[in-house]
Symmetry: C2
Subunit: 300 residues, 2 copies
């Protein structure tokens, strides 16, 4: 007989939906992931996608708690102002889940008033990190569509800065004149480093350096791997130029999944910073566990 | 009875298809424009769109010359290397036009080897400018998806630089997290100037300044007009920071259509540069006329 879920942890970051089915002993009894990011951007799309993953673990006459690390478009999530500890106390998500077997909880989002900035699900990851390393003091680099640089000290999020690096890479590589240049999955490590250096040296030239990839492909037979790596290098180099106060002379941990985190580590290493690589999912799960405990404590 | 075309001038720049039906006396007898940019990106789409505009002016048993200022995807256009005069001698376009009543001619594209850069139809506009102002000495700013800055001296294109400013604006305003922030057509002039100044002052921060528009919309109730103007200001300011050697202390002419050219003039004026505004279509037509004459001369 199929075991039923004690509660369910839901990660909706990095363009995928990942769930852990949690057992009575506090350990996952199963996990599943779907990368259909397009369908989970709306509430009904999210609801369908979540049910497809977790339905086998639901009991018919029992409402199970789902703790989710970030909001879906249309949800009204309150903000907590930084500096602050990562918020662990969760709130019932609105709008409510249509299926009566599930009750959704979500942590508040974070806001920084000056300069204005916003953080969603990343705060749950930070809560997870501070659960296992409460003494962490330094800077987190969290690559993604909207990469976060976060200064952590004394258990608090002191300040943070968001760069649209991943979004720019996706838009330019999929829908601009560079689309043909960067097609494929090849990668040229030297072109990446040259791109990082070019953007850090002359960040004001980025809009023409980007078009230069198209020109170099046409005139100098630049390969797809070199073009793709140079595009990534230019954008990450631009971000490093703009976030220098965060990483210069600091302890930096890069929290990510896959190649992008490695590229950030490579780029930082060239600047003399040895970034510590941390896998994101275990930290997200740890943060979601902390949030789940808050629902239990408040119920007592 | 409908007059027939002596030849046809075709402008395929700025996301629209514009034609002038030229009479025997060298003057336009009609003109028409369509903005269906999506359908004219392919050869068959272009052919259909062009025929829809010019068919009434074609004779049944006569092949008319169409001179077009830039290529369509899939056409194999040769390059001329800068420095050079804008090429006026046109070549028969490949692939050929399916309708036997039309023969297409196109000028070569321009290439610059170091730094690598490419120019298409803008060279025809420059040819048109030099036809009416052969003594022009200075810099052209040609806003567009891929804005061109061009140094002109002694009748030659000395060097040029392309920035993907318009493409970045379109992608970010239509398909990024900023989409909601910048919706509408309102415009806040002060936000534009502040954006120009912020990007020129700290171009390395552009990727976080862009996300800051989203944050300011959410946290500070920034209006749509302020957000839209700030996005434009940040991107034009970034471009001005990267093209300073082109415009600093030079005579600058801005060739464009519509509000974008005015925004460039406003931004340059803040830097103490009084850019001269020139409407693009008359210059394109003058350049196409020069190219048409070359087909007549070579036929003699």
């Amino acid at each position: 007989m199929q075991e039923t879920a004690e509660w369910i942890a839901v990660d909706l970051s990095n363009g995928c939906l990942r769930v852990w089915i949690m057992g009575a002993n506090g350990e996952p009894i199963a996990q599943a992931v779907t990368d259909k990011s397009a369908v989970i951007e709306t509430h009904s799309g999210f609801e369908t996608a979540l049910l497809a993953l977790v339905a086998p673990y639901l009991a018919q006459d029992h409402r199970v708690t789902c703790v989710i690390c970030s909001g879906v478009a249309g949800w009204n999530v309150p903000y907590v102002a930084t500096p602050c500890t990562p918020p662990q106390r969760v709130i019932a998500a609105s709008p409510a889940f249509a299926d009566p077997r599930i009750k959704l909880y979500i942590p508040p989002a974070l806001k920084q008033m000056s300069p204005p900035d916003l953080m969603g699900g990343e705060a749950t990851t930070i809560a997870g990190l501070l659960r296992s390393q409460p003494e962490f003091d330094g800077v987190l680099c969290m690559p993604g569509l909207h990469t976060k640089w976060v200064h952590i000290s004394a258990g608090e999020i002191v300040s943070f800065q968001t760069s649209m690096t991943g979004a720019l890479f996706d838009l330019l590589s999929q829908q601009s004149v560079l689309q043909q240049s960067v097609a494929g999955t090849a990668w040229d490590a030297q072109s990446f480093l040259t791109g990082v250096g070019d953007a850090m040296g002359r960040p004001q030239a980025i809009a023409s350096q980007l078009f230069g990839i198209h020109a170099a492909t046409s005139l100098l037979d630049m390969s797809g791997g070199a073009a793709r790596a140079r595009l990534s290098g230019l954008l990450i180099g631009l971000e490093l130029a703009g976030t220098r106060p965060y990483w210069l002379g600091r302890h930096v941990a890069i929290i990510g999944v896959g190649d992008t985190a490695l590229h950030y580590r490579t780029a930082l290493a060239e600047q003399g910073v040895q970034g510590q690589l941390l896998e994101a999912p275990p930290l997200v799960l740890a943060g979601l566990c902390a949030s789940y405990e808050s629902t239990q404590n408040s119920a007592k």
